[in-house]
């Protein structure tokens, strides 16, 4: 009789890290190309994964392709280690790859993320894996994908600049508080995935390798360590990362990115760090 496997027991029916070796090689090839051409989108044969599109199928495939037995994996969703998506993906890799997992940014070698970059500065040797819903930064401005590829090839990004002009003309500042487009290595316009503008400066000259996986759109792109990443702006309206002006109610930080939380049914609200690991560390937990 089949015994029911305990929830967190290692799984032996699958290949290491779920994907078969041929698929991993294919993804690694795409990753190498992406690193060679910073910010350029490389198509790859994304597989069906055991989770729905939009939940991180691209990120999970990139993680599976680069994961080794000695890696330490951290997964965050909106900065938090304890949300459903983060917990599920962490447990998934603990089962199919039997790797060590952590919530500590400092201990992790691979950090898969949705919507945030950790507050603690990343170090050499760490790899960030971003889950990307829409890799094409010009998507909302030019609906034809063939034409967007031509614009990338010609380096013609006046459309994105016009969008920014319109935002400033209408509301005095950029209209994108997240997913603000960036120029990578002075050549390619890139979607930084839906991270808040607050995190955009962390991409610039980062010692860590940044990999971006879009499962549904079947694209991989990358920012190699120490690559220039400039947020799109005007000389006289420089890019300004936004942050709520409050202090974190839990750790008191005045510098970290904050989430607004409704605390009671009287309309009371508090602000807490979006990065749970950073908050716990500041509190000395």
């Amino acid at each position: 009789m089949n015994a029911i496997t305990p929830r967190n027991a290692p799984e032996n029916a699958y290949n290491f890290a779920y994907l078969d070796e041929a698929t991993k090689r294919m993804i690694r090839r795409a990753i190498l190309k992406a690193i060679a051409i910073p910010g350029h989108q490389i198509p790859f044969g994304a597989r069906e994964m055991p989770l729905p599109y939009g939940w991180g199928t691209g990120g999970i495939q990139v993680t599976a392709a680069i994961l080794g037995p000695r890696d330490v994996l951290k997964v965050i969703d909106q900065g938090a280690d304890d949300t459903t998506n983060a917990v599920s993906i962490r447990r998934f890799f603990a089962r199919v790859a039997n790797v060590q997992t952590t919530t500590r940014t400092a201990e992790a070698t691979i950090i898969q993320t949705r919507h945030r970059i950790p507050e603690r500065p990343l170090t050499e040797g760490q790899v960030m894996v971003f889950q990307v819903p829409m890799p094409e930064p010009l998507f909302k401005l030019e609906p034809r994908l063939a034409e967007t590829r031509r614009l990338h090839a010609l380096g013609d990004y006046s459309l994105a600049q016009v969008k920014l002009y319109e935002d400033i003309a209408k509301q005095g500042e950029s209209g994108s508080s997240y997913n603000h487009p960036v120029m990578v290595g002075g050549r390619y316009l890139m979607s930084p995935s839906p991270i808040p503008g607050f995190d955009n400066p962390k991409l610039h000259n980062s010692p860590a390798l940044m990999l971006f996986g879009a499962g549904r759109e079947k694209k991989i792109y990358a920012v190699p360590p120490y690559t220039s990443v400039e947020s799109l702006d005007f000389e006289d309206h420089p890019f300004r990362p936004m942050r709520a002006p409050q202090h974190c109610s839990a750790c008191g930080s005045a510098t970290s990115y904050l989430d607004e939380i409704i605390a009671d049914d009287q309309g009371g609200r508090i602000f807490v760090c979006s990065d749970t690991d950073h908050c716990a560390e500041t509190q000395g937990l």
Binding site: S158, Q161, V162, E166, K170, E235, D236
Partner: protein, 257 residues
């Protein structure tokens, strides 16, 4: 006299059995306004598209001489090179303003786009240029943040002209710029174009079926029929002393008010 700004030799283009261009030779000199007239289907718009590199010819060459005097074969140029030329040295005014404007973007954004494409990253400067050009085409700069759909047809056409001229092009292609406008608006627009052309020393290729517009604007007139140039010469010579039977017909067909 200096070398021609643009010269085309022996252009050939067929659409199936139709000869849209049949051995066309044409040239334009700096500061010159050349009108291409003819009936519908005579190949004048096709000629304009081929000259501007928007369409490939079956045979023939189009040479453009840049500000440094260097000649470029338009159809041998890479797409990147052609786009660059289109952005910096040339302008194209479409018959329908909707083809030349971005309808979802404000007037200022429309005029500023070419500056941003040319690498301008200073918001205040772009905005000032856009407002200045709106004033030069006799639009109210206070309406800089309104989308083109708020403007009348004549205003949209003015906006399109401002958008073309903001980067100081040397050569402008105009495809029936006054088509579809009522006569009083046409007259003011022609007046404006004439003023700008002489002020800026632009070279203009200008397609029209309106002989009166050609008389008003052009230095030289080229008459096309069935994909061939049947007659060309100084504007007043062609209009007052037409030699080819077709030109005579065309000139005598103009309604006198």
């Amino acid at each position: 006299m200096s070398a021609p700004l643009l010269e085309a030799a022996n252009l050939q283009l067929r659409f199936g059995a139709v000869r849209a261009l049949d051995g066309v030779d044409i040239e334009i000199f700096p500061g010159e306004v050349v009108a291409i007239v003819g009936e519908s289907g005579s190949g004048k718009s096709t000629l304009l598209r081929v000259l501007a590199g928007n369409m490939d010819a079956d045979a023939g060459t189009v040479l453009y001489r840049d500000a440094g005097g260097e000649a470029h074969d338009i159809h041998a140029l890479s797409e990147a090179g052609r786009r660059k030329l289109m952005r910096s040295d040339w302008g194209f005014v479409h018959q329908n303003a909707r083809d030349g404007l971005r309808m979802g973007i404000s007037a200022g954004g429309n005029v500023g786009e070419r500056l941003m494409a040319a690498g301008d990253r200073n918001y205040a400067h772009i905005r000032a240029e856009a407002a200045d050009w709106m004033a030069r085409v006799e639009m109210d700069p206070a309406r800089i943040d309104e989308p083109p759909k708020n403007f009348s047809g004549g205003m949209q056409q003015r906006l399109q002209i401002a958008r073309c001229l903001v980067t100081n092009p040397r050569l402008v292609f105009m495809d029936e710029p006054t088509g579809g406008l009522d006569v009083s608006v046409q007259a003011r627009l022609l007046d404006l174009i004439r003023g700008l052309v002489s002020q800026l020393g632009l070279a203009v290729f200008f397609v029209t079926h309106d002989i009166a517009a050609a008389r008003l604007l052009a230095h030289r007139i080229v008459v096309m029929r069935h994909g061939r140039i049947v007659e060309e010469g100084l504007a007043d010579r062609v209009l007052d002393d037409p030699r080819h039977a077709y030109t005579q017909l065309l000139v005598s067909s103009v309604l006198a008010a």
